[in-house]
Amino acid sequence: MDFHSRSPGDKNPGAYAARLASAVFSHVFRGSDSSPDWIAGKARPRRAMMKTLTVLFFLLAIPTLSFAEEIPGATKQIAWFDTGKTSFALLTIAICATVIICTELARRGKPFYVRPIAGLLAMEEAVGRATEMGKPILFVPGIEDIREIDTVAGLMVLSSVAKMAAEYDTPLEVPTSRALVMTAAREAVQAAALAAGRPDYYNEDRIHYITDEQFGYVASVCGWMYREKPAACFFLGKFFAESLFLAEAGNAVGAIQIAGTAETTQLPFFVAACDYTLLGEELFAASAYLSGEPAQLGMLKGQDFGKLAAIVLVILGCLLATWDSISPRGKSDDGQNLPRRSQWITDTVLKGG
């Protein structure tokens, strides 16, 4: 059996990109009808979305058409699909599609179990404790700009935390290290205050920019912590060396600390110095989890299928590699070494982009 035949997709490569786009866009226009009003906005007319879908279609079609016009007698040809990336494109589509399908199933009412995550359960408790003690809450959405997906995830959690804090009417301090993050954080907190039915809770001055400089920011936040003694500290986003600094400062003032980051180098410090730590993926799952929306919880199920795929690929690959190691395949007729069996997985399925 020849594992090295090129995948059939090579013949019509463009179709994959188009399929991905259409899958994604069809979802956009369906919108999130099941989400509560404060997130989804008021009822959005479907007709408007149909129109935008058409616009989108043309936006994607124009580059394609302009390329088609260029073809006759063209001197330079820029392929509009990189065939070397076919397998990666397929993999991307497969993973995205799984996630989307699970979301759709959840939206239609299929119940999914989600295991409890200690750090997330403790959030409400932390906010409650701050309320009891009459002390403020600190939320640090990382020190990177919004171009890092960790920061975006941190901001998504911020909206949930802000909603809890607004319900209890406990002050929430959000110092930021980037101006764009400040803007987004203000939007998120304002929306949360509205959703909690306390629009007055939102105070712009509590969400302020300090400085872009990592340690300038930390100097200011730690000074603030020493003086105001917050009862709960949330560190969720992208962190670097300052992680331990923040966590130790919080520890010195006796705050409950909940941290989460996808920066693997900083996890040990958070684990050592904080009460609860969201490890890597849990940070991204947090906002879905806290939102409690079935559609978003469905996504977690979709992610799990991705992990299952990883496990299956690793086991299969390792078995093939072991087989290769025990009995190598030898040489073909023209004296060349036959490729290893595990190459089918490493070089075809997992070729990468």
Binding site: F88, I149, E187, L300, C318, L350
Partner: protein, 309 residues
């Protein structure tokens, strides 16, 4: 005066006395800095005697480079000596936070917040707004104002108006009537982030990491006489890696209850994570100590001159 105040007063006075002795009584002094004058266009050193009188061409292009005290052309630099003193005192102010929050720390904190915010604004002004936006939108203006080396044949690229407009939309938030427009740049940035990261993380963090975990569980190595023997060390290493990765991935499962077999495997996953955290923590210690070493070397070498490095 309580005991604590007395202690710190004595420490402070002792420090002052020591500094006075060190700066007056030793040849090296405290934080003394020397420079030589260099013609920026030619890179040649200007001797101190002629430097002042030679006003015709050198005035505009003199730069200063650090030199040792023994250099015959060296002159004492007030600004750099003062700089070393200020830097050293600020260093001590920050170290004082370890004892507790105090006026000195607050002073250093306020300075760093102001200076660093200003620093990044200035840096981005020159590096992005001038070097990127101005050069793209009005290359001629750039050439005649700040960047004389901008090539003459550069054409203006008006596409760069879009990010400028998007950037300015951030300010819409300040005007309640059009505050909603302030969300557009956010949406643009978050959207691009989502799109870019989706593929790059899948590629680098998923595909590549899964691929590098595919290892033969039994490894044979050929020895000198071309007889393959079982490589115990490598085999055990591979088996441990594969089992560890699988169990950790299982730990991250959200939608399955951690009970029974899954529970046991994910327990192993936590152990692996804990071992990896313990090791990562210890591996970091070295870097942190180095930073402290460097600060102390600054205080005791560059400033006080007590050691020679």
């Amino acid at each position: 005066m309580n005991r604590e105040t007395r202690f710190w007063t004595v420490m402070f006075l002792g420090g002052c006395l020591f500094l006075a002795f060190q700066s007056l009584g030793t040849a090296r002094g405290v934080g003394q800095q020397f420079v030589v004058r260099v013609d920026a266009t030619t890179g040649k050193i200007i001797p101190p005697a002629t430097g002042a009188s030679d006003a015709s061409s050198a005035v505009k292009t003199v730069i200063y480079e650090p030199a040792s005290k023994d250099d015959p052309e060296a002159i004492w630099s007030f600004s750099r000596t003062a700089g070393i003193w200020i830097a050293a005192l600020l260093t001590l102010c920050i170290f004082s936070y370890l004892y507790r929050d105090n006026v000195c720390y607050k002073l250093a904190e306020s300075i760093i917040v102001g200076v660093s915010a200003g620093y990044w604004i200035v840096t981005n002004f020159w590096e992005v707004l001038v070097a990127k936006v101005l050069v793209k939108l009005a290359p001629n203006v750039a050439r005649y104002s700040f960047l004389p080396d901008t090539p003459v044949d550069v054409k203006a690229d008006y596409l760069y108006i879009v990010p400028v407009v998007l950037g300015c939309m951030v300010f819409c938030r300040l005007i309640p009537k059009i505050a909603w427009m302030g969300r557009w740049p956010l949406a643009f940035v978050v959207g691009t982030t989502a799109g870019l990261k989706l593929t790059s993380f899948l590629d680098a963090d998923f595909v590549r990491q899964v691929r590098s975990t595919i290892l033969p569980l039994v490894v044979f190595s050929a020895n000198a006489s071309d007889v393959s023997t079982l490589d115990w060390k490598q085999s055990i290493q591979n088996i441990v890696i594969v089992i560890s990765v699988l169990s950790c991935v299982t730990y991250f499962y959200f939608s399955v209850e951690h009970k029974g077999l899954v529970g046991r495997i994910s327990r192993v996953g936590i152990w692996v994570l804990m071992i990896s955290f313990g090791a990562s923590f210890a591996l970091t210690v070295m870097g942190r100590i180095t930073l402290l070493t460097m600060r102390l070397q600054f205080l005791f070498d560059d400033w006080l001159g007590l050691v020679r490095i």
